[in-house]
Symmetry: C2
Subunit: 222 residues, 2 copies
């Protein structure tokens, strides 16, 4: 786990700050720990500021009025995100929900300090919009998956992507998979049983084991 | 219709360019006319550059492999858009399709010139990401409508929004309405008949007339 000074140096605009601005950033930031599953930012919560993942990972989603979640993107170690700072950025008129996917440590540059830096340093302002644009691309990718891919293909892609990170055994409940793939739990359960009957996967309690990777990959890439 | 010089002055970063850069912009841009329905940018077409609507309006969508269109946002007079310049912006990894919604005139700052200006002038770079971020907000709004609103409410909202621009008579075929609301034509036709039976609208050839605005609004805001 890095200390605050090391974390601050991971900020993409750190080298472009004046000494005085670096001092402001030091005073206006902190390292926050979140347990797995903890809510980092809610859609009606406080404006957090700029965040940077120093360890762990985050999941971003949007939530409908009836509580349905749509996965938008994920943030890994080293990733910065400005979408929990919509109060700082007038061009951002929506909110995302951020949840810790594992035990996670974040550098949080608070909103007033982030606002001040972005108003006084064009490099910070530029970087802020660039980070938003990168997330835009992530979101468009997720939306395309969601809108245009039939669910069997989407689930196969998801399992294939997850298995690349976690080897053969994916530790996730049907509820979690539903959340990550933008489906309801019943659909996930039905489709997973389908996959199990075809010999693509084996289902355990809170886990999915890849049995026939080639078959799964074929469906994912079809 | 403004001339090229007047159109260039509508660029949000015009005042921040040096005289030399203004000259580059003059040489690297043109005014293009598009007839209603003409394709301005396709997802596999050439990288157009930065565009600015000097008159008329554009519709942005994304298209699935099977040809289904999802409306993302619209551009009106004075709006600039950088999403047809993905070759200039590394952070943009997707393509949108742009169509002229009426007879439209655009200022097009070609991709090589836009790239050069954005590399040599931080204000231009900053503005480029800011414009992308604004479209991000538009897209998130559309997606929320699409994903979380049941279709009757969505159609009512659409008709309500359109009538605010076009008075009581909305000139649009069911095909066009389907495209704008991300539905298939059959669903639109069925729902419109439903609305007509309830006395909310009256259906004509290529038009929808609002009959009971209050009832429509109630559904739209429900």
């Amino acid at each position: 786990m890095p200390d605050l000074e090391t974390a601050l140096q991971m900020l993409p605009f750190w080298a472009d700050l004046t000494e005085e601005q670096k001092q402001q950033a030091r005073t206006g930031s902190r390292l926050n720990h979140y347990d797995r599953g903890a809510m980092v930012h809610t859609c009606d919560g406080e404006c957090l500021g700029l965040i940077l993942v120093t360890s762990g990972k985050l999941r971003a989603c949007m939530t409908s009025e009836d509580g349905r979640e749509i996965a938008l993107y994920r943030l890994f170690e080293g990733d910065a995100c400005v979408l929990a700072a919509s109060c700082v950025i007038r061009a951002i008129t929506f909110e995302v929900q951020l949840t810790a996917d594992t035990d996670t440590e974040l550098l949080v540059l608070n909103a007033p300090t982030f606002l001040r830096l972005s108003q006084n340093n064009l490099h910070v302002e530029c970087c802020m919009y660039k980070l938003a644009t990168e997330r835009f691309s992530d979101v468009m990718w997720s939306m395309q998956q969601l809108l245009f891919t039939s669910f069997d293909k989407r689930l196969a892609q998801y399992l294939w992507d997850e298995s690349a990170q976690a080897k053969e055994v994916i530790k996730a409940t049907h509820e979690q998979i539903a959340r990550d793939t933008g489906a309801v739990r019943e659909t996930v359960t039905r489709m997973l049983r389908n996959f199990a009957e075809d010999g693509r996967v084996k289902l355990g309690r809170g886990s999915v084991t890849i049995e026939d990777a080639a078959k799964l990959k074929k469906l994912a890439l079809m």
